[in-house]
């Protein structure tokens, strides 16, 4: 009797359905880890990009000195006096030839260069080691909860972003998107909209005037721009006819990116007409993403000239760092959403996706993932570029732009798209 039960359990555990279940679980966990690692790596990377590009725009070097100094090795027992010079000697390169000069210009004779990439790591270490100071007059529970509520939502929202297409294995198909929900963009809006609680509570619980004003500004701004943001993607959804981000990207891979429809059926009249509402949507959506991420020119909530530090004035050490990480994570997610909706997501473009898939699934997925990351870095660069180029708006200008310009433009844009679809297609 016992044996029979055991045998049947064993037999059942190896059948296809159960195998599929385990495969699904393991693959999902792997994808989760990958997405989490990519987002956190991009938070660090975007801090570095920000500082390098800021330096570049302001005509100063930026963080370029945080290399690994060579005298550190001597300290730990290396007998080499000057490894770089020895290396040049070994290959018989003279002291004053151009290779040696290039080496010296790259500071290779003094350190192992990291191009300032060590800087974010050292900043993080510094913030970890700083004194954690909680003022006595704050409301403790909400003061502790607020940084978590800012950092958490962007990381959760990343679950629906597709970072490559899929491939099939003997055990089942793998979809390179953690949660292939039928409501992709809405999920991102809803979850990243929850970080507004963090900002509000941070301002309120600090129990101090400037943070409170910063929190109120952040709330008002986020709610206002969420309206225009939601309305601006409706023309896209009318064109795609789906809310699933993976299918949206697949559509763009087949028919051309939303704002670059060059392949697929080619440039017909309908597509030229459709370009107009898509471009309007793109401009409005990108501006709203800037406002939602609380970045200059929309960083009213932490405007130093009127509000000291804004909602995080009273925070120190890692709590302060979580606010910053949350801001950068929101920026990364916003960029990923723009790339997914307007710039073709993982699609390589020009019909290369189908060709690669026909050749080798694995290679195609890796190429698409790389393409997605390249697009993401490019858009983050754009984010930073805008920040260091445009001055900050005034508060009433921000509200006017949101409610009096964007709302009307997006509603008119929906009607325009409907007319084009009805009369031309």
């Amino acid at each position: 009797m016992e044996h029979n039960v055991l045998a049947s359990i064993l037999a059942n555990s190896c059948d296809t359905a159960c195998c599929g279940m385990w495969f699904y679980l393991i693959v999902t966990i792997l994808k989760l880890v990958l997405v989490f690692a990519v987002i956190l790596a991009f938070v660090v990377l975007s801090v570095w990009i920000e500082r390098r590009v800021a330096g570049w725009i302001q005509d100063r070097p930026g963080p370029n000195r945080a290399g690994i100094p060579l005298h550190l090795f001597q300290r730990f027992g290396s007998k080499e006096e000057q490894p770089c010079k020895k290396l040049l000697h070994f290959f018989g390169v003279p002291e004053n030839c151009w290779i040696a000069k290039l080496f010296r210009w790259l500071r290779l004779d003094r350190e192992i260069p990291t191009f300032g990439l060590m800087q974010p790591c050292l900043d993080g270490a510094k913030l970890f080691l700083k004194q954690e100071l909680t003022p006595s007059y704050v409301r403790k529970v909400y003061f502790t909860l607020a940084p978590m509520l800012v950092l958490g939502p962007p990381l959760v929202a990343a679950a629906v972003i597709p970072f490559a297409s899929g491939f099939s294995t003997p055990f089942g198909d793998v979809n390179m998107c953690v949660a292939n929900l039928g409501i992709g963009p809405l999920w991102i809006f809803a979850i990243s909209g929850l970080s507004v609680y963090g900002l509000t509570l941070a301002g309120w619980s600090s129990n101090s005037k400037y943070p409170f004003l910063g929190g109120l500004r952040a709330t008002a701004q986020l709610i206002s721009y969420e309206v225009a943001m939601g309305l601006s993607i409706i023309p896209l959804l009318m064109m795609f006819g789906t809310l699933n981000l993976q299918n949206i990207v697949q559509y763009q891979a087949d028919n051309g990116w939303t704002i670059l429809p060059l392949w697929g059926e080619g440039l017909t009249w309908e597509r030229w007409f459709m370009m107009l509402p898509m471009l309007i949507s793109f401009v409005v959506f990108v501006t709203c993403v800037f406002a939602e991420a609380n970045r200059t020119p929309f960083d009213m909530a932490e405007c130093e000239t009127d509000l000291v530090g804004g909602y995080h004035s009273e925070y120190s050490s890692m709590k302060f760092a979580s606010f910053f990480m949350g801001e950068y994570a929101a920026m990364v997610i916003g960029s990923a959403l723009v790339v997914t909706l307007f710039l073709g997501g993982w699609s390589i473009g020009f019909g290369a996706d189908a060709a690669l898939h026909a050749w080798c699934d694995w290679f195609a997925v890796i190429c698409q993932f790389a393409m997605f990351l390249i697009k993401l870095v490019a858009f983050i660069f754009f984010f930073v570029w805008v920040r260091w180029t445009l001055p900050r708006f005034r508060w009433d200008q921000v509200m006017k732009l949101g409610w009096l310009v964007f709302l009307e433009v997006t509603v008119a844009n929906i009607f325009l798209t409907a007319a084009i679809i009805y009369f031309i297609n």
Binding site: G20, G172, G182, I183, Y197, W204, I223, E226
Partner: protein, 200 residues
Amino acid sequence: MEAAISSILFYLFATVAVLSAFGVVASRNPVNSAMCMAVSFASTAAILFCMGAQFLGIVQIIVYAGAILVLFLFVVMMLDVKSEERNLSNLPRAIIGVVIAGVFAGMVTKAALLLPDATAGKCPVKALCCTDYDATPDTTVAEGELSGGALPELAQDNADVKSLGETLFSQYNIPFVILSFALLAGTVGAVALGRKIRKD
């Protein structure tokens, strides 16, 4: 296994929702009440997600938790409401409250008992989302992927958004339009109230 997990999740989120709804009433600090309400909304949305009604769940989060409740919080913080004073001696008010709550609870219980197989001891979520409660709900994404749903067209792609829209704009079109007008009137009224009146 799937049935067990969805039952566990249902009872978990339902408990959280009820407890935090109790917290809304019991808490003396208005900000605590508002945050409890947010948790309650979020767990209701989670229950909707479990049932496969992803669109309704996400709308619950966007509209209630993301916008309306934040405005509540905003106003509470702006006015800096102190802890309210208890006034239990007001007997008529308490009786009215109990009567309204009782009628509403009775309505909800009646509706729940009318569900298919509500009394048979099956999981309420199963009973709600499919008539054949032994079958797995056919709207979960995980299921679609498990059964090797092809990538280009996921079988259940925006099924619930589509059915909701079709029902709303065909069967319930007139109530929908009437409700939209009510909301429009509310918006116009809010703008009229909030407008600065010039003296000159």
